[in-house]
């Protein structure tokens, strides 16, 4: 892929010259489903410890895993969303190791035959962040696996407690190619991946609750040279931390190499307090996981009808939506990108767009720019200025569409729109009623405006002469006088038209 070769300008300046950073990410995304991957237990976050544990999750003797079709479906849909190859035949393997948060003594995962094969994801150009152009990041695979439970070390002076609520929850492990070259690219990748997952609805993307976390693989090399030895920093749970890990690791590795050492292939942990990483276990301590096909489970074979249903259920995805916003709605690239970045943003926008178009009686394309400006800049400005006073329950699409419709008809000015929206947010109420009651309307009544203009022209005959003599700039003076006479409520377009007619 040509664009994969795009050079990032991110470099570590070492004593021996410039170093390039090579980054790959393994993102663990919790699959959105009511039940766990192989048991019927609930997956809701924040429940009391050990209240969402089935006999299977606790690995009681004789218990057996049964795949949850919904988890498989979500992973397949995710694979389709990154244009990946979906493997019609895949298989679960056991990854064997002992730990107190792993009841079975093995994690059911997919090493040899993952559900989803190679795909890709586009990160958007962001000049400010150092991403000069759009870049395609390769995705090696997505496999499905069980999460482990959680140890709690702070509940007892000498003992650790085990909470198995997470035990058996379905995760997708999304493994990128080592295609990223800067912290900014890695950050953009995680944000874009998160956006796609949320569009698809296969993961809520909530990094704080641990629904999404990344293992960050970093190595350094002389630009374009041989790949260096990588380290893997585990369980990084925010975009900012991912970027910090890369920054820290890259610099640390350059230091090690330039001081005559070599980078150890090892697993590291990130300390958010200090922004540094430290060794968790070295290659020598690496587990032998003794992977083998799980004999409790048959291979997973996907039927055409299942795949068709998965594909049909996919929503419009961020890149396609963005293109459509530009081509069909005529939005600027900036607005299109901003509006499509997050599920909530586009959902609010599209609701408001539909409501506004209906209210005005024009096509969506005709009102899209007005609505986009309102949604991205005007409305957030009003909300921000109100702070805690804003009751967002009042921020209905109907109310906003009414305001936009009045503005479109010339009944209210931009300033009045903001004022009305302020009142709506604070106190509720119908925008039309508010406009009437508070006198927040423009006068478009040509009679009243004509009368006012005639009086102004009569009182300013000298300026009328000068204007007609070629001093065009005086037009603004007449407009100002008229608006003042109308107490700011005259429709500027009407004022302009009448003035032009009268001044000849």
């Amino acid at each position: 892929m040509e664009s994969r070769k795009t050079m990032s300008n991110y470099r570590i300046q070492g004593a021996t010259g410039e170093w390039e950073v090579v980054i790959g990410l393994e993102v663990h995304a919790q699959v959105t489903s009511n039940a766990k991957l192989f048991s019927g237990a609930s997956t809701a976050f924040g429940a009391e410890p050990n209240t969402q544990v089935s006999l299977v999750d606790a690995a009681m003797p004789g218990m057996l895993p049964v795949p949850n079709r919904e988890c498989i479906r979500q992973a397949v849909r995710t694979g389709m969303a990154i244009e990946a190859q979906i493997n019609r035949w895949s298989r679960f393997d056991r990854k064997n190791y002992f730990y107190a948060d792993l009841p079975q003594g093995y994690q059911i995962s997919q090493l040899y035959h993952p559900l989803v094969g190679e795909g890709q994801l586009l990160i958007d150009a962001d000049e400010k962040a150092g991403i000069p152009e759009d870049k395609v990041i390769g995705i090696e695979r997505i496999h499905v696996e069980q999460d482990a439970g959680k140890l709690m070390h702070d509940q007892h002076p000498t003992m650790s407690y085990v909470d198995l609520n997470r035990s058996g929850v379905a995760l997708m492990e999304i493994v990128s190619m080592p295609d990223m070259r800067s912290p900014a690219e890695a950050g953009a990748y995680v944000r874009k991946l998160r956006s796609i997952l949320r569009y698809v609805g296969s993961c809520d993307g909530n990094m704080e609750e641990g629904s999404m976390r990344a293992d960050v693989n970093v190595s350094v090399r002389k630009p374009g040279g041989e790949l260096g030895t990588r380290t893997e920093t585990k369980n990084v749970n925010s975009v900012r931390f991912v970027m910090q890990v890369i920054e820290y690791e890259a610099n640390r590795q350059v230091d090690v190499i330039e001081n005559g050492g070599s980078v150890d292939q090892e697993t590291r942990l990130f300390d958010p307090g200090t922004g540094t990483t430290r060794t968790m276990r070295s290659k020598e301590d690496a587990h032998d996981y003794r992977y083998f096909p799980d004999p409790d489970l048959l291979p997973l074979e996907l039927e055409d009808s299942f795949l068709e249903e998965c594909r049909a259920s996919l929503p419009e995805l961020p890149d396609a939506k963005r293109k459509r916003y530009e081509s069909e709605l005529g939005l600027t690239p900036y607005n299109a990108r901003e509006l499509t970045a997050e599920v909530e943003t586009f959902a609010r926008f599209e609701t408001l767009l539909a409501a506004t178009a209906a209210k005005i009686g024009k096509s969506e394309a005709k009102v899209a720019t007005q609505v986009a400006n309102w949604a991205l800049s005007v409305a957030p400005g009003v909300v921000k200025s109100l702070g805690d006073e804003a009751d967002m329950a009042n921020a209905t699409a109907a109310a906003q569409a009414s305001i936009l419709a009045m503005q479109d008809k010339g009944e209210i000015s931009g300033g009045q729109a903001k004022e009305i929206y302020e009142i709506v947010l604070k106190d509720g109420g119908e925008p039309e009623t508010i406009a009437d009651e508070k006198g927040l309307k423009q006068v478009s009544d040509t009679g009243a405006i004509e009368a006012a203009i005639e009086e102004i022209l009569a009182n300013n005959e000298d300026k009328v002469e000068q204007y007609r003599g070629g001093k065009d700039k005086l037009f603004g003076f007449f407009v100002g006088q008229t608006m003042k006479a109308m107490q700011g409520k005259a429709n500027p377009a009407v004022v302009n038209q009448i003035l032009k007619d009268k001044l000849g």
Binding site: G62, P65, G105
Partner: protein, 493 residues
């Protein structure tokens, strides 16, 4: 009238339904027989109240004129590998000593639903690993049989040795067994009873303590082919809780029984004529051919060329799965916990598992861990899986020429307890004829043929096509009718 404890499943069921005796009388008779037979050590725990409650329920149903179920009023023994709600379930291990499940295995629940009751939990080789019932934490099980002129305790076979001993001693009319590499068929052969391992997936594995998941199958052990047919019908059936369960209706095996084998071809695999096989066993095999010919079948020679690789492959695949399946016994959530002073997590694991597992279990965990390790996986596990495929293909090809296969169940008759302990490999050879059908997931049954010169029973094995339990049972019935096996051990317990 003979003693109630001489009756089998069909006779008890029909007798209760017909009012010849009450289910309670039957349960009381067997409870008493069980209580007298402590010397056999067949049971780890007895559950007379369970048997009585089920019997009373059957009697009450009869009084109301309701259907009693296909096992109505029949008390059985339950191998202690099946989880039973509220009743200790140990897999004959120390690590699960005292473990009482809150759940009932699918197979045991189906049996209770069919009207059966439980006499107790039967002893077995620890985690079903063994061929002589000498690896149980709760002591050896003795066969009711003795070698002529000796008083040495004989092996009831394994791992379902408590089951075979109890049924042969008539302290239970039938019992559940599980078969991973012969654990139903070999003990059945050693004790002169019938036992069938159905097609892999026929009986749910849910709630059965796992040994080797891709091989484990539950099945009935009883004194007649008819009784096995009835009980298997009660045990089998699709279970959504077991992903390897077969989505097939359960045939009416009892109703379908027929000893007429006209038009059937029975294959005789030449590779089963192995060195070290007893003359008497070979003689019984020859006799078996005659009986089946007499029943109308045509005897054909077949070849299963990869037979000699089956046992080594089995001893890679089964321990590999076991090493992983037994990882859950770690002292964290249930069962034994050995936490030495000042010990950390790793120390607790080591102490708990060292104390909780017996030598044979440890041996298989070590073998399994080894064959799955990095650098050995391809040489052992992958190769063994290839052999497994070849063994299955052998059978597929053979079934192009025949409807069922007749072979010995074991290479020898039972042996005295303690006589084979020195050499695990000799012990493993006991299952050399049983393992190929396990690897291929095929239905296979052992039926008693005769006693040898030592007065010990010998069994014949029938292996059938996938899902053709009926063909296996029918072939077994033809042998049963002609063998007229009616030998019984003298009561010494």
């Amino acid at each position: 009238m003979s003693e109630l404890t001489d009756l089998g499943v069909k006779a008890i069921r029909d007798g209760v339904a017909g009012g010849s005796f009450t289910a309670r009388e039957v349960a009381e008779a067997f409870n008493a027989a069980v209580a007298e037979a402590a010397d056999l050590n067949a049971f780890i725990v007895t559950t007379p109240d369970h048997a009585l409650a089920a019997a009373d329920a059957a009697d009450a149903k009869r009084a109301r004129g309701e259907d009693l179920g296909i096992m109505g009023g029949v008390p059985i023994g339950m191998k202690d590998l099946f989880a039973t709600r509220g009743v200790q379930t140990t897999a004959a291990s120390h690590i699960l000593e005292g473990f009482t499940p809150q759940y009932e295995s699918t197979v045991s629940q189906k049996l209770w639903d069919a009207g059966a009751g439980m006499l107790g939990k039967l002893n077995l080789d620890q985690f079903a690993m063994g061929s002589s019932n000498e690896t149980s934490y709760f002591g050896n099980v003795s066969s009711p049989w003795k070698k002529n002129g000796t008083n040495a305790a004989m092996s009831p076979g394994g791992s379902s040795g408590g089951s075979s001993s109890a049924v042969a001693a008539r302290i239970a009319p039938a019992a559940t067994g599980t078969d991973t590499g012969g654990s139903i068929r070999q003990p059945a052969a050693f004790t002169g009873i019938c036992g069938i391992k159905p097609t892999y997936g026929r009986c749910s594995r849910w709630g059965v303590v796992a040994f080797a998941s891709s091989l484990d199958q539950a099945g009935p052990m009883a004194r007649s082919v008819e009784d096995c047919a009835i009980m298997l019908e009660a045990m089998a059936g699709f279970d959504p809780k077991d992903a390897t369960s077969l989505k097939l209706d359960v045939p009416q095996w009892e109703a379908g029984l027929s000893a007429d084998l006209k038009g059937k071809k029975i294959g005789i695999p030449k590779e089963y004529r192995m060195d070290g096989t007893d003359e008497a066993i070979l003689k019984s095999w020859e006799q078996g051919k005659e009986w089946l010919r007499d029943a109308g079948a045509e005897i054909v020679d077949i070849s299963l060329p990869h037979t000699k690789y089956a046992l080594p492959a089995y001893y890679i695949v089964a321990p590999a799965e076991a090493s992983s399946n037994l990882a859950r016994y770690d002292g964290v959530r249930y069962g034994l916990r050995d936490l030495p002073d000042g010990a950390g997590l790793q120390d607790m694991y080591a102490a708990t598992r060292a104390a909780g597992f017996g030598d044979e279990v440890k041996r298989r965990i070590l073998i399994g861990t080894y064959v799955l390790s990095a650098g050995f996986y391809d040489a052992y596990y992958t190769q063994a899986q290839k052999i497994r495929t070849l063994v299955s293909q052998d059978f597929e090809q053979a079934f192009g020429q025949c409807d069922a296969i007749l072979a010995p169940t074991t290479p020898t008759a039972s042996f005295p307890l303690g006589s084979l302990n020195e050499d695990p490999l000799t012990m493993y050879l006991n299952d050399v004829f049983a393992v190929p059908a396990s690897l291929a997931g095929l239905p296979a049954m052992s039926v008693p043929a005769m006693v040898n010169d030592d007065g010990l029973p010998l069994g014949l094995q029938i292996v059938g096509k996938p899902f053709d339990e009926q063909g296996v049972l029918n072939t077994g019935l033809a042998i049963q009718q002609r063998a007229g096996f009616d030998a019984q051990p003298d009561k010494w317990w």
